[in-house]
Subunit: 211 residues, 2 copies
């Protein structure tokens, strides 16, 4: 996934000659805490946050150029960078948004931290049930009932909890991947549990074929 | 994981009688786009964003109470809610931060979208190599070389890419789980690939045992 797939293309932008008052109204109306400052070719020349605007208003400054961050100090990403880079820059610098540039330095989008939250949480909000359905499909010749039975056996062995196949099925219908990795104690443990289940059902399948 | 484990406890707060000018200086100095408004018991009575502040300054308003959002309109979470709830509220309402309350309505923290980005991305930043090491440990009697060979075979079958076992090993040493699910096209596909690899090495193990 690239930066351009997660960026907001409906961003606002302003010029350095605009008045701070005018820009403050645009930002309030569009509910944006930040905006790129561009030249007439849409190239990035500055960056404004609403905190620069409050300072400008309070100190009686007039133009955006008087309060903007200059390009040297702006954290930005390229549209073809991996999306992960936008994630790292945002969390590392604790930013609410960063501008996205193309090869000519033209602003083509803005990545916002809540858009990243949305993308990451979607990845993470997959039902465990769907992972098991994919597993059933991949492990040809194994029934859903066998898969649930094996899952209950592995869970009993690992946790000591006396869960039945039916209870296991019910549980994975409600839970998400995000919850599951917290419950099992981490991503590796979650995967190892799944591998153990896969191993058990495959052993059964082979034993059945030999009969 | 609960909300209280991901919230910022070093948050700023203001009272509704403070002047907008004074609050604007606090927010600029502490680089906060939002702040809870509290009473003398630290109970939430309002919420201010820097955009409310710019409007207040522009329109010559004096007190925070004149520009703040009232409690009815504030999205908040409880400190004991699952962290997932803060994630969903932030992305659903496109907020940069939300206040965290305890049972008495006292503000005990603030969850910020870039903190969520950090938590989520750490979760995904586990090396794929570690998942394969866990898999090797779980699939007793299978060597690391067999596992890499099977992985290269499954990758060639699925993507047509002529990758060797050595190249595959090199690749997983560098890549994280987060990258892998983006490259493979999602969590289910990533996991199905692992199951296919597990299936292949187990088939080899059984074939070897029969010789």
């Amino acid at each position: 996934m690239k930066v351009k797939e997660i960026m907001d293309k409906e961003f606002i932008y302003v010029s350095q000659d605009q008045s701070i008052e005018e820009v403050s109204i645009i930002m309030e109306n569009r509910k944006k805490f930040t905006t790129p400052v561009v030249d007439d070719q849409m190239r990035l020349v500055g960056w404004i946050t609403s905190l620069n605007v409050t300072r400008g208003l309070r100190e009686g400054k007039q133009k955006i150029s008087e309060v903007m961050h200059s390009t040297d100090n702006i954290v930005h990403v390229h549209e073809n960078n991996p999306a992960r880079m936008a994630v790292l820059e945002t969390s590392h610098h604790k930013l609410v948004s960063i501008p996205v540039l193309d090869n000519e330095g033209v602003v083509v989008g803005v990545v916002r931290s809540f858009d990243i939250v949305e993308t990451l949480s979607e990845l993470y909000d997959i039902k465990v049930y769907k992972i098991f359905k994919a597993m059933e499909h991949e492990l040809k010749g194994i029934s859903w009932e066998e898969l649930m039975e094996a899952s209950a056996i592995v869970t009993r062995r690992r946790t000591g909890e006396m869960v039945t196949a039916e209870e296991y099925e019910h549980r994975i219908k409600d839970s998400t991947f995000g919850e599951a990795i917290w419950v099992t104690g981490g991503l590796e443990k979650f995967f190892v549990g799944l591998i153990a289940i896969g191993q058990l059902v495959l052993a059964k399948k082979i034993a059945r074929a030999r009969k």
